[in-house]
Structures are given as C-alpha cells and as structure tokens.
C-alpha cells in the first residue's frame, strides 16, 4: 500500500476514471467487488466516495486493511460494515437472503482469515454457512467425527495450506461440489501457497475444483454460481 501524501492527493483524477460495471448483477447475478490490495488508502476512500455518490446497490470490498477503512469513513462518512479479520466491508448493505447454505472446512487456525473471507462473501451474497476450523488430516479423527454433518451440505469449500491433503480426503468422502482454496501459510517448500495449489489441482479425488491462492472471495462466488442457478 502506497501512502506518500503527494501520491494520495494526485489520485483523485485516477479515481474519477473509474468505470464501475453496474450491469454485472444483471448479467451474472453478483455485483462487481472492489479489490483493495493494490490501492492506497486514498484510492480506496475516493472509490467509496464515488460509489456512494453514484447510488449503486450493495458493494463488497475485499482485502481492505484497517487504514483503508479509516480513510474511507473519514472522507465520506459512508456506512461501511467492516470486519477486520476477513478484511471485508459491505457498502449499502448486502444482497437479499437466499435459502442456500455452504459448509466451510479449514485445515488449521492459520487458514482462518481466508475461510472468513469466504464466509463474509457468502453473507454478502445472502447465503448462510457453517465454519469448521482446525480439522487437518494430521489428526484425522477431527474430520471423521464431522463427516456426516458435511455430507448434508450442498457445497463444500475446503481451505488448506502446505500439503493441502484435506482437500483430497474430503473429496473422497463426499459427493457434493468441493471448491478447494489453497492458502499461503507455511514456509520453505510451502512456497507461499503454490504447493497447496498444485496439490489440490493434482488431487487424487476426482472433480475437486480450485481457486487462486487465498481466494476465499472467489470460492464464495463459485458457490453462489452453483447454488443460485441450481
């Protein structure tokens, strides 16, 4: 995040060039989200300001860090529903609740923030969810004692880093769609999530699909595509 004052001042012109894809909900059932990672606090504040002015419907912000949130509420007094753990914010509320539910399974406590990004995105999209954390396969009993519960879900999101073995074990135990989210936890051979990503792609359990590393948002959107069009 770039924070130099001079930079922030000048960025207004760029934000004015924003072309929000206001037609997206109509086309694909979900609005465009604003990804804050590569933006300065000033950028984010300006974008919030412009969106407030334009009167769009609910908008989701992802990867919004605390200073970005503070810059936004300082500037435009926007009513942002911000959650620091998942780094998400809802502007102008969220979508209408649907009769849909997703199970989220995470291997370790280090995977929690990614799992929470998925959960918050589902909440924004009007979909309920149940979170199961710390069920990694090194203590297999933790997963086994929940298998029956997981078998009742319509969609499962599996969040795991390092060896990502959880995705293969879950994929071999349930028949519903399994969306695997690799995380960048670990060090060395974990290669910032690439090992988990590749292990999930090469999973011995058939029909497991994969999102980008740490992409809890994308997994939730994929679940929404499945549940909404069913």
């Amino acid at each position: 995040m770039r924070t130099t004052d001079g930079y922030v001042k000048a960025t207004g012109e760029a934000a004015d060039r924003l072309v929000y894809d206001c037609d997206r909900t109509h086309r694909i059932g979900m609005p465009e989200a604003v990804f804050c990672l590569d933006k300065s606090a000033g950028d984010v504040a300006l974008i919030v300001d412009r969106l407030v002015s334009s009167g769009v419907g609910p908008v989701l912000f992802t990867r919004m860090c605390q200073p970005q949130y503070e810059a936004a509420v300082n500037r435009s007094d926007a009513a942002l529903d911000y959650d620091p753990l998942s780094q998400t914010a809802f502007l102008n509320g969220s979508m209408a609740k649907r009769n849909a539910h997703v199970g989220i399974v995470a291997a370790g406590t280090s995977d929690t923030t990614v799992a929470l990004e998925a959960q918050r995105t589902l909440q924004f999209l009007g979909i309920g969810s149940q979170l199961h954390i710390d069920v990694g396969v090194a203590g297999l009993w933790r997963l086994v004692e929940r298998v029956e519960e997981l078998r009742h879900e319509r969609v499962l999101i599996v969040v795991a880093g390092m060896d990502a073995a959880l995705a293969s074990v879950v994929g071999g135990l349930v028949g519903c769609p399994v969306i695997a989210v690799p995380t960048s936890t670990g060090y060395g051979a974990a290669r910032n999530g690439e090992t988990a990503l590749n292990a999930m792609l090469a999973s011995c359990a058939q029909g497991v699909v994969v999102t980008n590393i740490d992409n809890g948002f994308g997994a939730a959107c994929a679940a929404a595509r499945i549940l909404v069009t069913a």
Copy 2:
C-alpha cells in the same frame, strides 16, 4: 509407456495387488476411474482383466492410448467402448442417463481432445452435453453469437490454452458455474499449459474455478457433482 517384454511379463504380480475402490459410487456418486497414462500396455490389459473377473459395474478408463486398448481387447476379450480421439474407454457400459446437461466451450481446434475427454466422461456419467469449438476471443464474434445459447446451460466447461482469455470473457457474460480447463497447447511462454492455468486462476471474472491442465475428466466430474447434488 514402458513396453519392454520382460517388464510386461513381470507386472502381473503388481496388478494382483490392485485394490479397486468399489465403494466410491456409494460415497460420492461416481465410480473410481482408471488413469492409464503411467501404465504399460500390459498393465492396462491386466487391470481390465481383473476388473472383468471381479464383476464390477461400469468403469471409465482415461488416457488410454491405442496400444493399451489393443492389449486389453487381445487379452480378455473385454467389451470396451473405446474412443481414440478422447482416449477414453467404457467397460461394462455407462451409468444411467440423467436429466442433466452441460455446455462445453473450447477456444481452438487444438483444444479438441481435452474437450472431448470432458464430453465422453459426461456421457459415461449419464449427462448430456453440447460442444462449441473454435470460439477463441481473437475472433470475438464467434463467441458473441452463441452467448444466448450458453446462458441456457446449467454448467459451462471452458477449455482453453495459451492466454486462456476465453475463460474470463465467458465468466463475465454468464452467471452459471464456469469450470475452466487449461490446456497444454502452444509453445514457449505457453509453458505447457501453466500460463493458461495461472491466467484462469487469476481471472478477472469472479467465481471461475479451475482444474488441472488438460483435465477434461476432472471438469466433467466437477460438473456431475454440481448437477447430481442440485
């Protein structure tokens, strides 16, 4: 594929060790498939022979090349429904037809064999499909004139190599689940499908999910998970 005679003769002992996961259909709704890529023609023939003897239900073989097919039918007189383009074979027929349908979109003619692996796998799983080949974004009109048709599908499989731009464009146009399959076509910077894989994972269209490179089989299984549990 290893073909030395001495090797093939000795492999019988190994095939006898095969532990077919006969419970898988019960657990996840699809039988275990036999992946032939890393096996000799003799290996494959012996596995077919053992499966015929054991009286299992329908079994799908993937990446079965012509010599493997010939070795199998020579040995056991098995009634294999073999398709050389998709390199798939059905042993003991296929699963019962379901009222379910998938659209398959492929960017170029080089992606055909992967698209056909998906189509044959869907056929084996009792699911119908429609194939759209050669609709790459360099000639955007080819895709645009099919958009309405694609919007009626419950699930789309998008097969593309090189820049894999097709997945992002389709993901931005339709709201149903989009399963992206990168292919190993191209050369140099295409990096045997890794560029397509990464581009699909980093797609600007939200909620696109991805399978391994060239994994038409996996995409079809993912579609089945979606359609069967819906």
Copy 3:
C-alpha cells in the same frame, strides 16, 4: 532504497563516475532516461545535480519516489516537473511536440500508475495520448463501446495484469500495432505479473508485442519508435 547517512555521503564519488549517453538522441531519437528504482535519494540528487551542471537537454526520470524528488530539489534547486502518481520527472522540460497520438487502454484501476508512466513518457517525447481505464473484459461492454474510437489510433498500448485477457481481445479487434504491458497487480497465481506477461506473449491475437512487467516507459518508447520513423 538505501537511506543510511554514511552511505549517502560516500556516494558522491560514485555519481562522479556517471557517463551519461549524451549521443543517444542523435542515434535513436530519444535521450537516455534515468531509472531511479535501485538508487538512494542521495544518488538521485547527485545525478540531478551533475546533469544540471553539464547542461544537457531534457532528461526523463522514471520510478522516482517522493523522497528522491525531495532530495533532488533540496540539493540543486533543479526545476523538476514531478508527477507523484506516475513517479516521473522532467528535467529541463520535454521534447518538442509532434503530430502523433497513442491510445492507452488499461484493464483496471490497479493498472493506473503503469498507464500513467506510459502517458507521461509520451508527453515527454512530445506525443499526445488518450487514456481508457477500467475496461477489463469481465465487463465486456465497457470495451465494446469504445472499439470504434480505438480503431482510429495509430498505436495502442494495452496495460493489464492477472489474466491479461484484454490484450488478446483488443488485438483481435484492431489492426494497428498493439504494445502489451503486463502489470504486477493481483496475488497468488498472478505471480507478480509473470502470468500476465506469459499470457500476453502467448496471445491468440497475432502480432501483439510485449514489454517488461510494469514497463509503461518502455511501451511509450516503443510507440515513439513506431510513430517517429513512420
């Protein structure tokens, strides 16, 4: 950027060794630019000072951050035209205006700074430009409604990160030279811009050429080579 005082003091001797390629404009039509990324604020200030003393013509500085700019103006009172968004500065003005124009197309707001580096470099080289931001292919209508306008440009610079699908779509729609600039936006499978780079190199649209990641400066120089020698 190294900032230790001891370091900065000692660097004068090194700056004195500078051999500015004062003949470059004569040879290739553009002066040597000073790339500030790997230099300390003190280094940059000393280089500015030496160039001011030597009386060279207009010089472009790229990747100049705010502290480098401040160190330079503190030291030598140089008349630097500095732009913090694009991190560029002009010393001793810019080149004479030419009757030449370039279209710059950027996929998302995160790509703005790179697009602006291209625009400022073109301005320095005396070339006009028009910037189109936020026209990524996930909302295809945003690009489609500008196609006719883009078809009137003599050269297009396309700036995109992640899947970089925009370059292929644009390259299939227009016949003029398309210079693709991958950006390091995104995370995980975006691989700091390598995925965009490879996707652009493997583009299904023929004749698209590519620069280094985030190299808006290089794209502008390439456009100048095309326009000036035409």
Copy 4:
C-alpha cells in the same frame, strides 16, 4: 504430433467443427493463420481440405512439418506452396505486394529457421525483407559493418537465443522499431529460450518489444501492423 491411425480416422468430426475466422482480414488486415504444431497429419490434411472447399482467400500455415504437408497434398491435391526450412505453407497464394520492407537480423546460424519463419510470413503478407545471419556480438565487427544498412530499414526484427545480447546492442544503435524474437537455441542456462526472452524484456535499450520464443510469425505480423497502418 499424434499419428495413430485410429486417431486420424476419427478426427474428421472434429475438423468439421472448425470455425475459421473469415472476417479477420477485414478487422485487422491479416487473415487467421493455421498453427500446425499440436495437430496430427490427418487433422492438418482435413483442415486444408475444408478450407479449399470453402473457397477462402490466401491462408498461411505455420509449423507445418513434412508429414503434415504430405498428408495434405495427398488428400486434397491442394496447391500448397511449402517451404521445409521455415515450415510454412501458403494456400491459395499470398496477399498483394506492398511497398514495405523489413530488416531481419539473426545472431547465429542456429537461429535461421526462426528468422526464415519471419521472412516467409512477411512474404505472405506482401512485405519484402533482407536477412542478416550470423552477426552475433561475440564478433562485434560483423554487426558494426552493417549498421548503416540497418539504419535505413523502417522496422528491424532481431532474432537471438542464449544471452540475446544482440537485441540490446541493435536497440542502442538504431531508432526504428525493434521487434526482438528470442529463440530456444542453446542448452542449460539458456533454458529453452527463457533466458533470451527475459534478457530481451529487460534490455537496457529503451523501447525494444518482444514476442514469444521462436515466434518469427508473430514478429512478422507485428511488423505488418506497423508498416500497414503507418
């Protein structure tokens, strides 16, 4: 190239799905080319057959190996102008000659086939060219004695593998557009052309643009975009 007979027989159905982008010349000034690398001899022969039947204008085939050429002429008696060194073929002649010329500079004799693919593509597009082979920088005099000649070209294509130093040296000597084509010559640290690719992208000469590894075709198309729209 897959050559199993069973495969070739079945491929007809796939070729029938071919959607040739017949509008491309109208849009971008060049017809779609057929890239033969990932296709069987049977595939290529069928595609030639279909294109002959459909009565399209001139079509360029790239990466066409001898068996593919022979299969094509055996099947359809097509009048293919085939060149085995560049692995290119012209179907139904070539485009009208233009008053345009390109210089092609190659570092070593190992780069010849890529340079010839560029030259043949230019010939197909109606553009003349002059080829300079074996002017690598290890014997700098070979390049220096041609500099004046190169300075008269409107566009230069520089073909080099391994360290690819030639692109930087040429880019520092001339002001016209320089299109750099990395080649996959060499071994070990040459990394199948990736070192040349990266060295060209990171060239110290400003405004050099780059194509995919071994992509003489793409370089010629880029040159055509420059010359035709000038």
Copy 5:
C-alpha cells in the same frame, strides 16, 4: 541412453578410470551402488565386467533397463539377479539377512515401480518388507483397515505422487519413522513429482522425512541406516 556404436567402443577407456568405493561398506554399512540411468548399455556392461574381475562383494545396480542388462550378460556372463519391474540387479548375491522389517505403503498402482525399487533394495540389504499398494486417501477405508498392521512396523516407507496426501495421513496415524518418497506420476500440476515432493516436505504431520523424487533406493538405504544402527 546413448547407443551409437562408435560411442560404445570408445567408452572402455572411461570405464577403466572407475574408482569403486570399496571401503564404503566398512564406513557406512552399505556398499556403493551403481546408478545406470545416465550410462549407455556399453558403459554398464563394462562396469559389470570390471567389477566381476575385481572380485568385490555383492553390488546393487539401480535403474538398469533391459538393454543394459542384456549388454552386461552378453559381455561378461555375469550372474546378475535382474528384476525388470524395479529395474534392479544384484551382482554376486546380496548382503546377509538381518532381523529387520519395513512396511512399504504406495498410494496407487502407478507408484508400484518405485515401491518395488525400495523393496528390492531392502532385500539386497538383507531386510524384509511388506508392500501395501493402492491405499490412496481418495478411498480412505483402504488405509484405515490396515492401520493396526502398519503400527507394528519399525519403519514405514510411504510412496505417493500428485498430491501425496498419503504421507500426511500416515504420519498422523503412526509414531514410527516415516520416510516419504514422492513419485513422478501424474501430469500438469503434478509437475513430474515436484508437487508431491513439496507437499511431503510441507506435511502437516510432524517428523516426516523425504527423499528425492522416485528414489525408492534412497528410502531403503535410509531405512537400513535406522534399523541397522538401532
């Protein structure tokens, strides 16, 4: 494997330079093995010949393919105990039997040859073993029903490719030393065994150690180090 006749004839001189580490059994309890992968059939035959002449004790050959074996027995009439599946040969018998035993667990039939290389190496070193093939975690019951048996082993070798999830699950279930051997099975994201290698190194089960890809020989030697010095 290089097979040109001229080459084979000349190689004698090189083989004469062989410096067999005849002291190794004394130092580390195991003799030097001859790795045949990068050697021509002629090279291997000459080495066998020299070793027969020198009267060394038992020698193990690994990665010996059928033509290498045939060249060796043709030349020197050596009494080689050759096994084509594991590509191993014993020259001058094997080491004395020890009261030691190892369990070998392999995820799929494609991992068999690597598992057999481990088993044959153990046999050469005088150590017994039990092989469990096809117990991959996609069908978890196959492993679970053997856990008690595995818990009685002093050392376990776990052989798996692709996601290599088996190593983590086994490592969480048993307390004995677990030596994980990644295999090069699979395609695409399996990356010739690198994904399995990295997943095993980043295993969530503590204290799992890893060998090179496909290195059944190394795993057996590691087991011997453990069992012999216990």
Copy 6:
C-alpha cells in the same frame, strides 16, 4: 505478523474454534506443537490462554517471536519457558527425559538458529544432544577432527545452507541415520534455501533424508521417531 489492534480484538472468536489434537501423543508419541509464524501476537496469546485453561500436558511453541511471547505472558501469566534464539517456548514443562542422544552438525554460524530449534525441540521431547557449529567443508579439517565423535551418535542432524555440501560429506562418513535440514541462508543462487534443499535431496551419499527448509523442529521430531521406536 499482523498487529492492527482491530484485528487482534476480533481474533478471539477464531481462537475459540481451536481444536487441539489432544490425542496426538497417544497416537504418535509426541504432542501437537503450535506453529506461531502466521499468527498475530494476539492470536498466540489467546491460544496460550485457551491451552492453559484446558489443562493439557506440555506444549511446544515454535517460531514464537519476542512480541508474541510478551503478549502471551501479559495476558495469561502463563509459565512459558521461552528461548529467543531458537524462538521456541515450552508451556507446562517438557516431556520426560529419555535415554537417547542426537548429534547436530551445522555448517556455519548463520545456521545456528535452525540448529538451536532442533536442539530445543529435542530437549522438549526429553532427548539430549550435542551441537557442532561452523564445520563447513570449505575448512574440511574442522569436520575431519570430529568424525570419530560423530560416529558414536545414534542419529545425526546436519544443518546447512547454500551448497549444503556438508550433508553429502557427513553421509559418506557415517552409517547412522542422517537427517539433513537445508537453511535459507545466503543470497542469489542460494534461492532462499532451495538450492540447499535440492542438493541434499540429490546427495551423492545414499540414504540421507531431508526436511523442509529451516525446519529444525521437523528434524528433531524425525530423530524422536527413530530413537523412541528403536
């Protein structure tokens, strides 16, 4: 390590979801350790707090930095035995002493912290050890004069970065199990420990096994598996 206050406050809910694998010591002879690297100071403090409340036996914390330690003792007054060099802490003491000993050999002083992580983990597991630092092969005499001493160890852990040649030399000199730990010391071609990792995996000394980069904890657990089950 994330330190924003808002974040730390919200993390309590996540820590409450912790499912500690309290059965692990029973299954594999060692308790689950808490890996602190990807956790905030607040996360770690909460986990310590929960574990203290739950009354578990001794627990090892690895990669615990000073601020994490301070947050933990501030919150719960837990009796943590913390060592800042190895970044380890013991909660509720350590396991009972065993009659077992390990030799630890490190190539340079830069490898010390990793070697100390191994030593502290062994201490926690009740196993004694002797540390030999700065015995890299560039000064071979330093290793040679200790060889006899090393030959009396039941297990050796070899810690080395960069070229990691020490593992191969030690592996050729002793017959006991050799557990190689690559470290991320060095720069450039050391590639953050990958070169050492690969060199150890490809060691010319047979039966050397390897852990993840910088994983002194894992090496100690592997040694415990060997010594405890012997």
Copy 7:
C-alpha cells in the same frame, strides 16, 4: 537482520561456538571472510570481539551494514576500516600489496555497489584495480573508446544486471580471463538478477566464467586465485 534485544543478549553463546578457519590463508592464499548478511548487529559485534581477542591476522567483513558496524565499534573498540558504499570492513589491516592489477567494468550506476565490493576485496587482498562504470552496451561508444585500455588488463571483472549483454561484448573483444558478476538490479523480467546470471552463463563469448548474483567478493577472490598463482 534481527534486532530484538532478547535475541542479541542470547547470541553470545552461539558466537562462542565460532570455529574460525585460521588455516585457510595457508591452504588457499586468502583468509576466511565473515559474511554479515544473515547475522544480527549483536552477532557481528561478538564475532569482531572474539576475533580481536584471538589475535588473528587481517580479516575481511562483507555485507556489513551501518548498524552492524556501529555495534561492533561500540562493543570492542576494534579498529575497523569500514566503507559504507561497498559494505565492507577490514579488521587488523589488509594483506601485503602485490604487483597485480584487475580491470572492473560495470554496465550502469546501479551496479556500482557490487563493483565496489569487488574493488575493496581486491584492495584487502593487496591487488590494485581500475573501475569503469556506466559503459553499458545501449551506448556502445562508451565501451569501444576504452577497449584498448581494457586489453592491457591481466583479468577483467564485468558487473552487469538485467540483460547483462556487456559480458558477452567484452568477452568477444578481449582474450584475458573475464569474470562476470550478475547483479540484482532491474525489475520484472530481470528476476532479481537471475536473467543476468543465466545470460552470462549462456554467453555467446567463449570462456566467460560467472559468480553468484551480486557477488563482487567472489569475483575478486577468483581474480586473486588467477593472479597469485600465475
């Protein structure tokens, strides 16, 4: 560089384990150098202290940053000859002057610190040198006008980043030993010096040898090996 106080205090024990290779000058003509990059300021200060106490001859410290230097002089009052630009320090003077000279050629000002590390190391080893900075091939005349001067050197060190073309051009112009040092300057495709490294290894100029990225120290030692044993 780790700076936590607790850490620094504890590190004394580790430094006491230091085994300085005091015999190295006798064996290879150069003393062991102390590489400071992975060490805390406290570590370095302790090592200086121990070396002062032990009374060794001249010792070179490389990659010593300002805080390390300050910690060292604060602690032990050691007479360190420190140079902040090259981040080197001499303890107890330097080696006796020799009648030997090296030419150092650097492509750009960004390569200066690496070139200075080489120059200072040569000075420590008693060898004179001449530095030529900013002679990159994009302005070829800057190199050409110095060729005659360079031809009089006994050894040349060539320092360059990005495309590293300078090494190939120099290697083709002079017959003396050319030691190429890749630098980590640049961004994107420069890949932190890997592109320069590979380009130098794959140089078209025969007999150029290469050191690690940014390893000016190593290049100077290589030059010393050449000059001292000549």
Copy 8:
C-alpha cells in the same frame, strides 16, 4: 536434430549465409568453435564444406553426434579428427602446443563425457591435462589421496552433477583458480543440472567460478584465458 530430407536439401542457402568470425583468434587468442547441437546433419556437413573451401585454420566442432560426423565426411572428404565420447572434432588440426597444463576432476563416471569435452578442447588449444574421475565426496578418501597432486596444477576444472559438493571441497583445499562445471546427471531434485549449477554458484569456498551446465568446452576456454595471458 532435424533429419527430414526436404529440410536438409533446402538448408544450403542458409549455410551460405554463414559469417565465420575469422578474426577471433587475433582478438581473443582462440578461434570460433562450431556448436552442432541445434543443427541438422546436413547443416553441419555444409558448414564443414564451406570452412574447408575457405581455407581457415584449425576449427573445433563441439556436440557433434555420429550422424553429423558421418554426413560431414561423406560430403566433403574433410579430414576430421572425431572423438565420439566427447562429441568433438578437429578440422585442419589443432593449435600449437603450449607449455601449460590443467587438472580435471570429475565426481562420477556419469560426468565423464563433460570432462572429456573439456580435455579435448584443451588438447585443441594446445594445452595438456590430467583427468581424475570418480572422486566424489561420498568416498572422501578418493579425493584426499590426490590433494597433493592437485595442488601442483596451475588451474583446476571440477566437473560434478547432483549436489556438486566436490567443487566446494576442492575449492577449500587448493588456492589455484577453480572452474566448476555443473552436469545434468541425476534425476528429480537434480533438475537437469540446475541444482549443481546453483550449489556451485553458492559454494562456501570463496572464488570458485562457474560455467553453464555440461559446458566442458567453456571451462577449457576459461582455463586457456588464464594460462595464455599469465
């Protein structure tokens, strides 16, 4: 090596474009060598023919395989001194003998061909050499018993693959220039020689320099640069 007849016939035109750097011996003391790896048998034969006609002095051919040699002697009756093991040929004899000598040390028999390429190149350049094969560090005594002999050499070339530990051990034992040549022997983590390359670059022995993978030719040229200019 491409061998299609059509290809070979057409290649004459390309060979005619050959610009042999006949001035190189004058500039750098060694003639240009012809690298045959990426050339067809026909290409090589034509080049030999042209060089014979042009009456140049001695020329070295490297990586010349048997069919290339046979094509060359069939065509032009050239007096080639061909060695199939090192894949080198001398045309028109070799350079005058010099009073210079090099020691070549190779880790294993698999490294022999690379070591022989170095030896033959030295022979061509008029320099004598002594070859020591199979002295890998897993059996350290083999190296130790030759150390005194190696200490009398003016230059050492060290050839090793996999962990390449030999280069570091030798570099720590002798003071003369050490030129390390990584080889592509081994499998898996050996990564076709990259692991050896990186290990040599990151060697803990100071002043070791490195060539490209398998580049025995380059090492010999580097030795010649050292010995000739001394």
